[in-house]
């Protein structure tokens, strides 16, 4: 009996479940597979089945990037650290993670004249304010040469560049507003409509908030309100709806984090274990069900290191 062959449409189903590296290799199978694997529509389908997620850690002074599988962080399994090639040859410039989405990681380098704020949409770069023009927000579409200025961005609003988080087609920043009285606001910029608005914050419940950080957990915007001995994690279940803010849990601090705590949750697992970045110095896994801490087994590569969860994808920024 001749070997049965599989119809092309079901082959697509199988291929969309393979890791990126294998798919790159399988472009050698035949011409139709090569065009399928390089098709942006296939890249989107593949992203939905997101085959592998990694925790990327960048040492800001030692020019090192490492990757650890996200799955091993929450289990007792030994973590296999992958050394990632440092993206620039010229190692006189320290890198910082700006953001990661759709399989694209954006780094910024301090000495370059323009600080790029975030790569969001597959093809869009957004530049936050640079020091001499604090209130300008500019958007750049990859493949073009120009930057557009976002009109009417509220004056006296200082964006924290590194706080930009991509969600629901918009970047969300933490910003400091100096008007009648100074306060923290969450600013959102819709990248398609290039429209900005303020996102309401939760009622922090009378605690003395020393600092705030924002992030994305379970596909929802979240905010970490840091007090002297603990941080509260708030989740906005319905984007833009003030009433949908829910307090997930309280993370106790295990040491004194000073007057300006920097606490950021990178990921929460299905069984409520949370990967935290504390002060850019250490990564810890906090089990919010039983209140225990665990070492995620990620190597300390620098005194000051930034981490981000990265979902691999076939999406290419097509410069």
């Amino acid at each position: 009996m001749p070997l049965p062959t599989l119809p092309f449409d079901v082959v697509v189903e199988i291929l969309s479940r393979l890791p990126v590296k294998i798919l790159m290799q399988l472009q050698c199978v035949c011409k139709s597979w090569k065009s399928l694997i390089s098709d942006p529509k296939f890249a989107k389908k593949h992203l939905r089945h997101a085959s592998q997620s990694l925790v990327l850690t960048v040492g800001e002074l030692d020019f090192v990037v490492i990757a650890n599988p996200l799955s091993s962080v929450f289990t007792e399994a030994t973590t296999t650290t992958i050394q990632v090639d440092y993206p620039v040859k010229d190692k006189d410039d320290s890198a910082a993670i700006v953001g990661s989405c759709h399989g694209i990681l954006c780094l910024s380098f301090c000495s370059q004249p323009m600080k790029v704020a975030v790569v969001c949409y597959p093809h869009t770069l957004v530049q936050g304010p640079v020091s001499n023009c604090r209130n300008l927000v500019k958007v750049h579409t990859l493949g073009t040469t120009s930057w557009r200025t976002i009109q009417d961005f509220p004056p006296n609003t200082l964006i924290l560049n590194e706080s930009g988080k991509f969600l629901r087609g918009a970047i969300n920043w933490l910003a400091y507003r100096q008007r009648h009285s100074s306060c923290w606001v969450i600013m959102s910029l819709d990248l398609e409509k290039e429209f900005h608005r303020e996102i309401p914050q939760p009622d922090y419940g009378g605690i003395n908030v020393l600092s705030l950080n924002i992030g994305v957990l379970r596909d929802c915007l979240c905010i970490f309100s840091n007090a002297d001995t603990f941080s509260d994690v708030w989740l906005m279940k319905e984007y833009g709806n003030k009433d949908s803010w829910t307090k997930l849990f309280r993370l106790p601090h295990t040491r004194n984090l000073g007057s300006w705590p920097l606490v950021y949750a990178l990921y929460v697992s299905n069984d409520d274990q949370v990967l935290f970045d504390i002060e850019r110095e250490e990564l810890v896994v906090y089990n919010s069900r039983d209140g225990t801490f665990k070492d995620p087994g990620i190597q300390i590569i620098d005194k000051w290191m930034e981490s981000e969860v990265y979902h691999e994808s076939l999406i290419s920024p097509c410069f």
Binding site: P4, T5, P7, P19, Q27, C28, V29
Partner: protein
């Protein structure tokens, strides 16, 4: 399972019986073996169900020429578990453990022909896992694909993609 199959062996005859809701459905494999299943099982198989619906339920014997008597019991077993809500990771691991790569492919084709979404999804993942560390040559043979690159084109492509060609298992001749 073997005893069950032999007791269900009947000569193929498409009989028009008076349908009742509890009547069993006879599925006839490509090699003429009859498998009697409950109507609820047939519902899991979209192709079978639409055949029954088209004939207003009069025909309860369905020929499945593309599916062998080797594969059909597996399909039925999966559908039974699915109806009972008993598809677990453990069951699925056990289910495919005894199948080699060619058998998984045949079962996948059967699930595709019968249009059983859950089984298709599951087997897509099984095949993906099993070919993940195989050579390009193995994948071509497995999918029955002819290489339409010229040797020069392929050599150039392989050079560009050199970074991806690490950790490939040597081909296992038994599975070809």
């Amino acid at each position: 399972m073997a005893e069950e199959v032999s007791s269900q062996m009947n000569s193929l005859s498409i009989s028009e019986t008076n349908p009742s809701s509890s009547a069993t459905i006879s599925l006839v494999s490509g090699d003429d073996i009859v498998f009697k299943v409950e109507p609820t099982i047939a519902k899991e198989m979209e192709t079978v169900q639409s055949f029954i619906d088209e004939t207003d339920g009069k025909i309860t014997t369905i020929p499945l020429p593309n599916i062998s008597s080797h594969d059909l019991p597996y399909v039925i077993e999966y559908c039974e578990k699915s109806i009972a809500g008993k598809i677990t990771k453990e069951f699925e691991a056990e289910f495919v453990k005894k199948l080699n790569n060619e058998e998984v492919k045949e079962l996948f084709l059967a699930a595709n022909y019968l249009n059983i979404k859950k089984l298709l999804d599951f087997l897509s993942q099984v095949i993906a896992d099993r070919i993940a560390n195989k050579s390009v040559e193995y994948v071509r043979r497995y999918f029955g694909i002819e290489n339409d690159f010229t040797p020069e084109e392929e050599a150039k492509l392989r050079e560009e993609l050199a970074w991806t060609f690490t950790g490939v298992d040597p081909d296992d001749e038994d599975e070809n």
